[in-house]
Symmetry: C2
Subunit: 696 residues, 2 copies
């Protein structure tokens, strides 16, 4: 599919079109970086004025450029660009990066120029990156097509795909001071052709890349993105920073599901489905990337079958020479959903033989300020040998009696000898600088604060859990059935095996009485009007109607109330339904996200859905694991197990309805929103009491 994409990273020759001899021009910067990067293929410069640049001749025409050349970098005025793309095609160049801005981002005219570039590219089978981007970097090849100020980023194992070029430039500079490097970087700009979904597998396929970070402002094709990303995350971790949360205005929605599901909920669900870790901040994204690139994962899956009681004792060990930072670390680990390891008796015994009597042996292990480099090393070794310890967080503020560097030297071989993750909170700056360099050269991850170290541990554990879940047999919901031509909603639900309580339309009070007698009392009366989505808001619902007499009174009553509240609404009559009061009430719904398609919701039902916000989202189709995990995220889902005087209800039946509704959503494109509120989950089974549907 992306067969020409590798050309961006493995060109045999590169032509810079718009190369300049004036240092203040971007065309100079690109030429300079390409030369300085140490790129070993052929380098060609093209400009209107012949001459020489960095010892290479400047051609005045692409046709003059000798072989090999398979990648062109264009830094020329927007209105001349399409022409040069055309020339690239004629010259047999199949990959082009348009660096210049002034295209779609600049308005209508620019958009037209961008379209012309794309058309020229399509005619010749050229893949385009940009326009309005800084291009690509491969530190291992090496190759640097950008104009950003040198030096180029340090070689490393983090791949980076970004919708923002300036963010790349800033991060490249910042990364140097943080001591990490990159493998491949792609800045996508306007994405006339190549987008984040195209670039992701290309960066992931690189052998030097161990983890990929994504800076995303949007996603071009939601479903393809999920599929592509999922194929990547099975092999390598992907972390995303998604911005633009608050931009998208909420569209008017006809259901609770529609009102609650913003594009944020859909992105959350998409990342979960794709196995992408979502970071909250830029700093966090790169903190996690460093750990995922360089640390072994905690052995999460190996003991998945262990007894629960054994699992409960397992966790992270904290090794510190001071109480305060140890407490900060312990708090932060718990905040990130991790546990402290319960050290075994033999570990405690070994520690007590090493440490002074005033030391604290129990996790966090506080060796006291006097701890020597050797003490650090021996204690860490003991901790990592403990079965209950899945990883260690070592805290190293400037030691009062030793240099931090000497502690680093003692720790490094111990960390290297273990297959468990060890992260160091190296707290300080000048006094810890040389230690930082030592750790960095040894590929050991450090952070200046325990909180950031704990957050990185959280990412390692979530990654390990994801892979563990992946190895379990994943029952994927098979979608094969064509759309069902159902006559009405009740039938449609019946086809998908979702039980409903019979509901019938009465066009007169007498008809209502007859229906109620058939169904049996007590019944519920609901106004029937296509113009009233929230019936109870206008007094259009009457519960617990016990007998014929009350029914007659009730019909008149709700008619009057609704007419008063909504005089313009066309009223077709009154729905009569058998009342079901047992069981627990939940809401199950679906709305279509413009990016990611059918988005399922589960949670606490009733009218207060939007107030309580006890809801969870996931993208259809759902398998049982996904449905259950979704339910567990809400109080409504947890409560199904029973709580206090609320008896347990049929969890499996609720999950079933959720799964079936997700299938219905996938197979019936014409349904824009559907919502069961409430679904009554009984002791055995579950019944849809009120269903609302909106066709697209």
């Amino acid at each position: 599919m992306n067969s020409t994409l590798p050309l961006f990273f493995q060109p045999k020759g590169v032509a810079v079109v718009g190369a300049s001899t004036s240092p203040e021009k971007l065309g100079y910067g690109v030429a300079r970086n390409l030369i300085q990067s140490g790129y070993r293929g052929a380098i060609h410069f093209v400009s209107q004025n012949a001459g020489e640049l960095f010892g290479h001749p400047i051609h005045t025409n692409l046709n003059q450029v000798p072989d090999p050349v398979d990648l062109a970098i264009l830094i020329i005025p927007p209105n001349a660009t399409a022409e040069v793309v055309e020339a690239c095609g004629q010259r047999g160049i199949k990959a082009a990066i348009i660096v210049s801005s002034g295209f779609r981002e600049a308005g209508k005219e620019g958009a037209a120029l961008e379209r012309q570039c794309l058309e020229a590219a399509r005619r010749h089978g050229i893949r385009l990156i940009g326009p309005n981007c800084i291009g690509v970097i491969d530190t291992h090849l090496p190759l640097d097509t950008t104009f950003i100020q040198p030096p180029m980023p340090a070689a490393g194992n983090i791949g980076f795909v970004s919708h923002s070029g300036a963010f790349c430039a800033a991060i490249i500079d910042w990364a140097r001071s943080e001591g990490f490097g990159f493998s491949r970087i792609v800045s996508l700009g306007n994405q006339a052709d190549v987008n984040e979904t195209d670039a992701l597998p290309e960066v992931a396929s690189d052998e030097h890349t161990k983890v990929i970070v994504l800076y995303l402002e949007s996603v071009a094709d939601g479903r393809r993105f999920i599929e592509t990303a999922r194929a990547v995350t099975r092999r390598k971790p992907v972390i995303a920073l998604k911005v633009g949360r608050f931009e998208a205005g909420q569209k008017a929605a006809a259901s609770h599901t529609g009102a609650l599901a913003g594009s944020e909920a859909a992105f959350e669900a998409a990342f979960e489905k794709a196995g992408i870790l979502r970071a909250e901040t830029s700093e966090q994204m790169f903190d996690w990337a460093e750990a995922l690139a360089d640390c072994p994962l905690p052995r999460w899956s190996r003991y998945a079958r262990e007894e629960r009681s054994l699992l409960d004792q397992r966790g992270i060990a904290i090794l510190t020479n001071a109480g305060g930072p140890g407490v900060i670390a312990a708090d932060s680990l718990e905040t990130n959903g991790l546990r402290l390891a319960q050290l075994t008796e033999s570990t405690l015994k070994e520690l007590s033989a090493i440490l002074p009597p005033a030391a604290s042996l129990h996790n966090p292990v506080d060796m006291l300020a006097s701890a020597s480099p050797e003490t650090y090393a021996v204690c860490l070794k003991v901790l990592l040998a403990d079965f209950n310890v899945d990883g260690a967080l070592v805290i190293l503020p400037p030691p009062p009696m030793f240099t931090a560097e000497s502690v680093a030297e003692a720790l490094i071989p111990v960390i290297h000898a273990s297959d468990k993750p060890v992260i160091v909170a190296l707290m300080g700056s000048a006094l810890t600088e040389r230690a930082a360099e030592k750790f960095q050269r040894a590929n050991i991850v450090t952070y200046p604060f325990p909180e950031r170290a704990a957050s990185a541990f959280g990412a390692l554990v979530r990654r390990a859990e994801f892979l563990a879940a992946e190895t379990q047999c994943r029952e994927e919901l098979k979608i094969s059935r064509p759309a069902v031509p159902a006559v009405n909603l009740e039938e449609l639900l019946a086809v998908y095996g979702i039980p409903t309580t019979p509901i019938k339309l009465a066009r007169s009070v007498d008809e209502a009485a007859t229906i109620a007698n058939d169904l049996g009392f007590p019944v519920v009366l609901k106004i029937a009007s296509p113009h009233i989505p929230h019936k109870s808001d206008v007094g259009g619902v009457l519960l617990d109607v016990p007998d014929i007499e009350s029914l007659r009174r009730g019909c008149t009553q709700i008619m009057e109330r609704v007419k008063a509240a909504r005089p313009e609404a066309r009223i077709e009559g009154v729905y009569v339904q058998r009342q079901i009061s047992q069981g627990q009430e939940v809401i199950v719904g679906m709305t279509r996200d413009p990016q990611f398609g059918a988005l399922m919701m589960f949670g606490s039902g009733g009218v207060e859905v939007e107030g309580l916000r006890d809801v969870a989202f996931a993208l259809a189709p759902l398998n049982r694991t996904e449905a259950e995990s979704m339910m567990r995220k809400t109080w409504a889902g947890k409560k199904l197990k029973g709580f206090r005087n609320i008896p347990p209800a049929d969890e499996a039946a609720a999950a079933d309805v959720l799964i079936k509704l997700s299938r219905l959503a996938i197979e019936n494109d014409s349904i824009e929103e559907i919502e069961i509120n409430p679904l009554r989950v009984l002791e055995k089974g579950a019944v849809a009491v009120d269903v609302r549907v909106k066709f697209g």
Copy 2:
């Protein structure tokens, strides 16, 4: 009260007892730092061996030390320390810092030694800091009593009180690289005498201190802490990092309030009452401190009386040369509860005259990558002149065509000329280093990421809001009435003006029938047993009993159910109560926190309180502002205004009950927990339907 505390910061002479000539000893480090700090008072060294150190004689006895000497620093073995404290007293020294460890933190023997030190100190009116601490630093005096590795922290305007010495040492080192300094630092250690509440006002009273940060592991006397801190926060901002969240095991609680209110909820409430900003991480605490120390506050209060529509347009302006970081900043400001300013027409016109056509004029203002230093400066000036702009977040990644330094030079005078806060996200490292230095020298706050800048803006705004609320007349609840000797719960509530629905104990079915006839149907039946706190859990509650016949059946029914569920419980009969079904159900409760006393709770009632967790906490006594703000934090509180088909209920009456219950809690020490669940908030008024009380 703390009349001798100033001696720690303004001693005329300091004696180091345990000074050492061996560089590997702490007693050497303390002597070295004291000398190197540039302390201008008299410096005396005392040790067992006479000699000379840094050109000063070493005395072998405190008595030999000439005047002036009013502060002693003790670095001697624990078992010799009490004796030296005694000698200090005899020498007329009124302030001592015990640096050595091996006291309470080391076990029983150490605790005894610590007690001896304290007793000696008390005998002579000596104030003690420590033991097991690093002492105090005043960068302006200057004075450094610590042994931590030099150099001492840069002089600055942040005061720092810490329960952990190692945390101080690490932060001092880190702060240098971040470009901020300290005014006063106090490390408290074991707090045999001086604790955080003593130290806080002492640090705050320093003229160089503009903001105080607290690293807290606990609080010695909750109520005194709140009072003291509140007096400080009226004048200077205080930020706290509270750790040890997960340590305190939850005590068994008899009510929902007790079960939900951990020590964390109490600390949260205490910080709110004291006006302390609570930081989530170490990095955040110092990020906020930098902004609060150096930025003017947004003019929040000045326009408090403005029309709402005008207020809605006001907010923060983002100025950037790149789209991506601008979007990150916009997201982060919203995450921190801030709004983007809506720029006025005249601002947009001015900007359009300055910027190229492709630039984005609307906030975030994107000047494009070509933005020159002058463009940055002129645009910022225009933005700061806009009435709707309360502050500006300037984003500066390495500019492709200019140096970041030249942009800094252009921006600094504009920022200095404005009385609105400006924070710079200076994104990078090597390429932005010189710009960072320039900003730092100009006291302009920078962060490497927009997220951290936005978080700091959030702190500025919360501080401004706090001060604005302070200037409003605060109606403090006067507590003067002595405890009321109430015969029973109903009377107690009546004394405080909390309406209850009559509830009567029936010892037989006939008696129940008579009572019900008196009260009027429908009624509620509840089992009466001192052994059953959660009645509905055992089927001990029957709602909606419509008539005598149902009542007779119901009495038998609940007796049987309760006897089956709790055969051991003594049953006294059945309570009969008039059923009130109107209005909305909320929970109002109080539990006593061991640190901070009466802790009030408000939220969604019913049995699912602990599942839904829709609750908020605040410390008693509550005034109306506090009660209302608490209610607004919950869905239950918001819903009182009405929602969909749920009619509005009497918010003021609910607040009233909350306030009255807080008074009841303060005035009746013997009540350990009290909970009204539900309180029915009616169209007019509110009624306590079920009240549970636990005496201490």
